[in-house]
Assembly symmetry: C2
Homo-oligomer: 328 residues x 2
């Protein structure tokens, strides 16, 4: 019997989860939950049920795992603990600094209701975190580096859109090749913000807007751009839609470290992602962890977990002996 | 209290484990076990106990985890199940085809004695296996590629040494850059053996040996070299010792796959290692899993496990809340 998955929130991530369910033979879409008027929402899956978020609690016996697809700022801190009262849940909460409190809230709700909640699933947090952990455990003496990109940063694109005179914008975060190479050579460089990434912005200005003022507003913006070498390109709306419609991303997690009696041998562990679609990849990671949530729950486990707490075999549709035979 | 680790077998891997224990503050070397005369074995750790392998069973209360450092061909199939009668054990059994039977043997012994046994730990099998599993779970529709090198293959070096007229030899396995690049571009190439790796051999011949005959014997050797583009260099013994004393290795695990409703988005997941010392890195992975064996055993678990069965958090000396705060 397939794992019955619910999708709570139908933006880019929710659609990504819908696609991921299609790619996993042992899963089926039970329902999509939306805050919009359900009858007006068109989903990709033929015949799929679309419900109001308010109906979710009443469907607790029809869904094995509910995947929360809202945003980390305001949606998930409320929705994940709330839904954990009724379902096994998985979310992609990515506000790193607030993970401990989110963990506590989900843990409490999930333990009380007897469900499994897996939070902060995706690639960072998620696969990148896993690779940091594995590499740190293997090389206790070493140094971690994380680079992001080349990819679209939604937060930075939004920040540009809020500037007066800007109609639309797309911002790419780009790792600096020379910094990456220095890290890979094992020279353990100390890299400041500016040395690790550059930022490239494609901006559609309103007619008659002051381009010079927009550019200055971008490159001097604190936190977002002031600490980076930032390039601004003004383009037409057509160009933006034609050349910058995708949501690519990716990055690199590298740990360099030493072994040997006198630290005489150096090692480089590198994990990298190159993604055409950030939300679809995130959704694909989430789908694998939804399988884990289902299985852990069936084993009687409950409470909040992260990618750190889950044995890799739970992610695979294959059983242990198959995995040992073909993948070990 | 530190985790008391025993080292069973003191070759390159055993010495690597000894170094790894030094790098992990929560571990201490309890004893080294050798088949040689213990009084003649000099280890790196000041004051460390060196014992005969026959003494091991009598020390079962003094060792938390025994690390088996023998070879996969004949040592580990006997030693790991035998030692699992007395200890939690970790080994690096790497004969992929025989993993299922080794698993069964260790599982039986460990379950009967109430210990945890973790087999096939290292980088391949080990970290590479983990990355294959994670990547397959995330991208069910895709293609796996594993490349090894640049690094020294012990088995191939030994095969050359068995040729008449050869005094010593070192063989490097080298991934083909153009193949790697094609894989990374996501073109899903079908690559045969010759297209993935080349082999480079550095050979010291006996005086008066027939160099042409040695070269022919190497490049036409079935299984080992015949299917590869192989280069043979004759060098002096001094050059071999000077330029080829290290045991570097490494490699790449890459999975490319598609997501989206119509598979319209492509993704590349890549994990790579660049290692100065193959045995020391393997030993470092083993040390992390020795920690896991200790903890799992303390939780009351027993039987055989592989890297697939162990949640990443068990590898780290830090506790769950620390990991969530700083590494997620």
């Amino acid at each position: 019997m397939a794992i019955r998955v619910g999708i709570f929130g139908y933006g880019n991530l929710g659609r990504g989860v819908e696609c991921a369910i299609k790619h996993n033979q042992d899963m089926e879409l039970a329902a999509v939950f939306t805050r919009r008027e359900p009858s007006k929402l068109k989903v990709l899956t033929e015949g799929a049920r679309v419900c109001s978020v308010n109906e979710a609690p009443s469907m607790k016996d029809q869904i094995d795992v509910m995947i929360l697809c809202g945003g980390s700022a305001t949606d998930l801190p409320k929705q994940t603990p709330e839904m954990a009262k009724y379902f096994n849940v998985v979310d992609s909460f990515d506000t790193h600094a607030r993970i401990p409190e989110h963990y506590e809230a989900v843990d409490k709700a999930a333990k009380e209701s007897g469900h499994v909640g897996i939070i902060s699933v995706g690639w960072d947090p998620g696969m990148f975190s896993l690779n940091r952990l594995y590499a740190n455990a293997i090389l206790p003496e070493g140094k971690d580096y994380t680079f992001w990109g080349k990819g679209v940063s939604q937060g930075h694109s939004d920040a540009i859109r809020r500037i007066e005179g800007v109609k639309d914008a797309r911002q790419y975060t780009i790792p600096v090749d020379t910094a990456l190479d220095a890290v890979r050579r094992g020279t353990n460089p100390e890299l400041n913000t500016r040395e690790k990434h550059t930022r490239e912005c494609f901006v559609v200005a309103n007619e008659g807007a002051d381009l010079k003022a927009i550019e200055t507003a971008i490159v001097t913006m604190p936190n977002y751009f002031a600490d980076y070498d930032t390039t601004v390109h003004f383009i037409t709306e057509e160009e933006l839609l034609r050349d910058h419609a995708g949501i690519p991303h990716g990055g690199f997690v590298i740990r360099t470290g030493a072994t040997g009696w006198e630290n005489e041998n150096k090692h480089v562990i590198e994990y990298s992602l190159k993604l055409d679609s950030n939300p679809e990849f995130t959704a694909s990671v989430i789908a694998a962890y939804a399988r884990a949530a289902f299985r852990l729950s069936r084993e009687g486990q409950k409470g909040c977990k992260t990618v750190f707490d889950i044995a890799p075999s739970y992610l695979s549709a294959a059983d242990g002996s198959e995995l040992r035979k073909h993948m070990l």
